[in-house]
Assembly symmetry: C2
Homo-oligomer: 437 residues x 2
Amino acid sequence: MKISPLFTDLYQLTMMNAYFKAEKRGTASFELFVRKLPENRNYLVFAGLNDVVGLLQNYRFKSEDIDYLYSLKLFSDDFLDFLKEFRFTGNLYAMREGEIFFQNEPVLRVEAPIYEAQLFETAIMNQIHISSLIATKAARVFSVAKGKKLADFSLRRTHGFDAGMKVARSSYLAGFDGTSNVLAGKVYGIPVVGTVAHSFIMAFESEEEAFRAYLETFPSNGVLLVDTYDTVEGVKRAVRVAKEMGVTLKGIRLDSGDVVELSKVARRLLDEAGFTETKIIVSGGLDEYRIREILEKGAPVDAFGVGTKVGTSADSPYIDFVYKLVEFNRRPVMKTSSGKKMYPGRKQVFRGKNGDTVGVFGEELPGEPLLEKIMENGQPVKKLPTLKESREFFLERFSKLPEEIKRVDRRVEYPVRISEKLKELYRRTLSEIERES
Amino acid sequence: MKISPLFTDLYQLTMMNAYFKAEKRGTASFELFVRKLPENRNYLVFAGLNDVVGLLQNYRFKSEDIDYLYSLKLFSDDFLDFLKEFRFTGNLYAMREGEIFFQNEPVLRVEAPIYEAQLFETAIMNQIHISSLIATKAARVFSVAKGKKLADFSLRRTHGFDAGMKVARSSYLAGFDGTSNVLAGKVYGIPVVGTVAHSFIMAFESEEEAFRAYLETFPSNGVLLVDTYDTVEGVKRAVRVAKEMGVTLKGIRLDSGDVVELSKVARRLLDEAGFTETKIIVSGGLDEYRIREILEKGAPVDAFGVGTKVGTSADSPYIDFVYKLVEFNRRPVMKTSSGKKMYPGRKQVFRGKNGDTVGVFGEELPGEPLLEKIMENGQPVKKLPTLKESREFFLERFSKLPEEIKRVDRRVEYPVRISEKLKELYRRTLSEIERES
């Protein structure tokens, strides 16, 4: 999807016009980070970088865009002429997609003439936000699923089209196994999965007739929904119909009622009938809290179809990402009002065995540096991993995260230290601001 | 934006294939409704109809879509051939955009051959959901704003691109005055608004220099952000710079700190300097609860810039819309398991002076019928209102809603009655289901 350059806040363009008029073109660095994690999140998962690289590379104002801006009677003609030729010419640093990150850690930095770096704020934040929000939520679900299969079933209630695509992609990135979103299957190569709906069962004279019609069409891979009328009867009927037809029953789905008890009964009925390979799939109002509960109660579930609460990250539907000016004309800067502390200057994040350290960019510290150069002078200098590679990377990183941090029921803070050099830079910058004002 | 027909759940297509094989082509009616309002919502606002009409009209499988479906090895060849020529051929009924609605009231009905009506479930729900979710949230903000101007500033943290556009549109529909989203301004004709960011102030040697640069570029419509360093000093400085330059100060923006106290101080400073026309704009973490509080404390605010919490409907980030089969082959149907009551058959909603009545479609009842025919045999039969007209319609409808229902701090239920005829149909359908099973 190509994103129009007008997909931005008006003030990005008015500020840009003011920079242009003031001939303010020095290089600025903006970093994207989170000051404080949401209350019920112990870690965040970085995602959406591919979209950012795509939008920086393809950022072009069309003549109809310029015409619209002209119609607003806000901008100077020479500025609008300048926009016609506008291209991103800066550098982009970022973490890898699938990386785990914490408070005060920049996940991305744009270095460019200030009017450029500023202009991209809105679109960069918008795109990283939704993908990281969902990758994080999905990772929590993955962390409690004990290896059971997970499928994204959220499409009908994601926040629109783009979210629907990004929820499918980000949940797969963070350990899910598939999605019901067919377009995401086509575009991203994610395995697509699905069963059957209540309306299908209801459209036939009887449940039995509906089961027959479905299994005739899908004799080797039919998953039947058994809870439209009476669930236990539904399971028995599914078994009987499959036996009579001599077909495989790939799975049954439970979407309502006491799924813990029902799954136990269903498993017993299936096993007694020799359908030991038939999977039990549970859906309906699931999230990490509910899945954890279902599994702790010993429900013999093979797969979960996870919907709305994950696709909207319902218990924490936004992350307070900020995109802040940290350096201008080689001078570290920071905002001091509002009581929200931030650190000045360009930074690097080092991952050690006992936590992370945020240091000054260029500083050598123990641990693995997490920010790498993705674009230079407006051009990509690094081939981005495929989605499957990023998924592998996430799984590897996630496996190293302490179990305590993975808890979904308790706030545990991962240690993020500030290097001595960065602390010193903070003090120096603060005293300079105080001297000047 | 054209939405691909693959933007659907896989099971819609597998069920369709099974209907196709079973030669099940009878006419079905599906209704979209909400069984129970979210806990902190007394009413909902219907929006997104234009997107649904667009997607039904333009639903075409491309050959690359068919190729992808073929690659899944799930579907029969004759079914895929059938999809190539697939068009929506049914009828669409819906409420008007901007209508207020409540539990158990269908907002939309699709009448079509069952495989068609089923196929569209995912996309219709996805599109109506996000627009109605945000129109509802924005209406709540509008209800407490006491006529102060409201602008959507949420773009950076909406759930992706499509949500960004729909948040701008739906909030305008529900009483907002403008958006910062420039593309929404171009596409929907919504007034675009904006001020200046902290980074702009920080990019200059001093706040004063930044103010000068901005006002030089926008001498007649500059809004200055005054809280980057010290807010009270910032206000004084803004006044002094504007006076020295002999320009108008259209407004100042407060984005942090105790905005109630700061706005009072700022208003006094502005008035003392003769800047009585300068507006005070407040932003930062706002929603209906916070705005209500700010205004109750007597803050002299002229406009609010409303962001993330409204753009993600953070206190209630989804609505449990369902799209249920209510009639098949002229026979009313309903799902009975799971304890979630629903009413069978095609319905009409009547708005009376003392509440609504949901009746059987075709039944004559007092009050205004809310569902109207939008498409017939796949073609639009009604010109949709413009966004401005829908906004007027919302404002008129909202003005008639009892004040008690508009409360944002308390659950109050609007009376929705079920007609005698519909109750009788429910009992009859239930006893038929019980007899058959």
